[in-house]
Symmetry: C2
Subunit: 345 residues, 2 copies
């Protein structure tokens, strides 16, 4: 059934039934505003990210359920990058009236499921008709007073670190553009590929469609006072490191041989004649955390005992040198590139 | 110059220069999240409203500056309807890359100016390319702990009140559809009209394009504990009263002869062969406050000594009768209608 057949207010009622009645809010959906009681001793974090059809995603490659998860996940990642704890979400949806209601159901189920992993509930939002489908999430989080980790605290001499391994999200996008699809948990292939490549492609697409917000890691880094500056990798390592350096007023050098490239990313890149390093540097949406620290490397590594790795990839320098990559042969080259919404790709 | 010529990050820098550096935020634009310190003893209010091109507005009839003011104003009105004080805003903009940069400049000047009237600053947001232009504002406000006025507190026996006079916004829309335009402060007319009608049309269009958020009035009603339930008139009196009654589990009767119809709305309605009462009941976007109260009418009227009027328009009843309009001849009819984003108009 189409949205236009039931109208705005019936659709809101339907969404209210999909979303659990919030435990953590004074007021949820159904009033002019949602309301929350702030936690004493905490600052408030606010972030918003918009996903636009045919710009940030394409309906051919993502189910509405996964789209809901991703829309929530990219915002969770911004809270993680400040060392914060997410609390509640508002969701705005602009959607063509001829769209199926089931699309909306699945989208909100995805939003709910991704949020639930971090005890985040949707407590409000807005709906509008639109020629272009668009999902916006605003997330409210909290962090201990004065403990928010900004982009602007990096100091010369500190090491540059990254969580996890890079390039898989960009590799997933390459595979999607080549016609591979993720259906439930298996890959649909446009032509025969080996079982191990198929598994690599599955992992890469999964990573592209469903980011893993590093909330726990960000919290640990902020609470221990490890990170002097932090950002999440949404535009690509080269671009996001540049943002961090500009806000901190510093330069940076990272070493090619230290950059942790995801194994599936390497395999997919190789198959599609791409440079794995380029996926890590210029490919966006890995949603790992990039941070700077003066701490002893052994102490930082000891904080990450589990599945998530952490790697020192370079050093912070005084302002004036820009962001550079030290190649394996010792030459240093300027880092450039990353995703820009308004430049023709 | 077009947005695509400078790219996303130069556009963000440009927007940062238009917006004043926030006084009231720990962190503004330029980090993964904005940050605020909550005021002790207050609850947090959160609201978001989206304006979509060719759905919620049309570029032919509104300048980007006024569009910015409106996008902020409709959200301020939601904070007013809870009795809250607005604090800070996030803005999301989805815009075609071929759009002129000056459009974006003017839009953010409008957002800034409307916010500044209530000490609200834009402290963050998101930009994306999009085929459809869309402006979303999320507003954070505060209200004394436990004092938020909801839609659900109306009780049988209470009077129903409305601030200001109704119908002007809908009358303005009629005039715009007939080809009248507001340029700066004067009306451009597609054909000759009398000077007094021209002034009525000006007022009505102004009201449609630039809502007046009733922040002070909402605050006064909440702080004095006057209002048991409150909502702002965005969808039209009939529809919004129905929302309030449903959330409160009550019925309502309003009296035709008590509904305060705006003088300009009456004049414009008459000229375009429309029923003034229909504009007040079904026309949306007046952004006045509708509230219920058990207080003595004289005490409520005494709270509004200034330009803004307040009028008792009816009474709350036990559930089961729906929302009714008592006509001048004494007959009671069911109230219906109001704006729905997904129904064909």
């Amino acid at each position: 059934m189409r949205i236009s057949a039931i109208g705005e207010f019936a659709l809101i009622e339907r969404i209210r039934r999909i979303l659990p009645k919030p435990h953590d809010a004074l007021l949820g959906i159904g009033d002019d505003c949602a309301a929350l009681r702030p936690t004493a001793g905490r600052d408030l974090l606010l972030t918003t990210d918009l996903l636009v059809d045919e710009v940030d995603f394409t309906r051919q490659t993502i189910t509405p359920f996964r789209l809901g998860r991703k829309a929530m996940g990219v915002n969770l990642s911004d809270i993680a990058a400040m060392g914060g704890l997410p609390r509640a979400a508002l969701v705005t949806l602009a959607i063509p009236p001829e769209e199926e209601i089931e699309f909306v159901d699945e989208l909100y189920r995805g939003l709910r499921e991704e949020g639930a992993q971090f005890a985040v509930e949707v407590i409000g939002g807005d709906l509008s008709a639109s020629a272009t489908l668009m999902i916006g999430v605003t997330l409210v989080g909290e962090v201990e007073v004065g403990k928010a980790v900004t982009r602007s605290g990096a100091k010369p001499g500190e090491r540059i670190w990254v969580t996890g391994r890079l390039g898989a999200a960009a590799a997933g996008l390459i595979a999607l553009k080549a016609g591979f699809r993720l259906l439930d948990d298996h890959v649909e292939t446009p032509y025969e590929v080996s079982g191990s490549l198929q598994e690599d492609i599955r992992q890469a697409i999964e990573r592209h469609l469903c980011p893993i917000p590093r909330i726990r890691e960000g919290r640990a880094l902020a609470q221990a006072g490890v990170a002097s500056a932090m950002i999440d990798l949404s535009d690509g390592l080269a671009s996001d490191l540049t943002h961090l350096c500009r806000e901190s007023g510093v330069s940076a050098t990272i070493r090619e041989d230290q950059i942790p490239i995801d194994q599936a990313a390497s395999a997919v890149a190789q198959r599609f004649a791409q440079e794995p390093l380029a996926l890590a540097l210029q490919g966006g949406e890995d949603f790992e955390l990039l941070f700077t620290s003066s701490w002893d490397p052994a102490d930082i590594v000891a904080m990450f005992p589990d599945a998530v790795t952490v790697t020192a990839i370079g050093k912070v320098w005084e302002a004036g040198h820009g962001c550079r990559l030290e190649r394996q042969d010792g030459r240093a080259v300027a880092l450039a590139g990353g995703y820009d919404h308004f430049w023709q790709q």
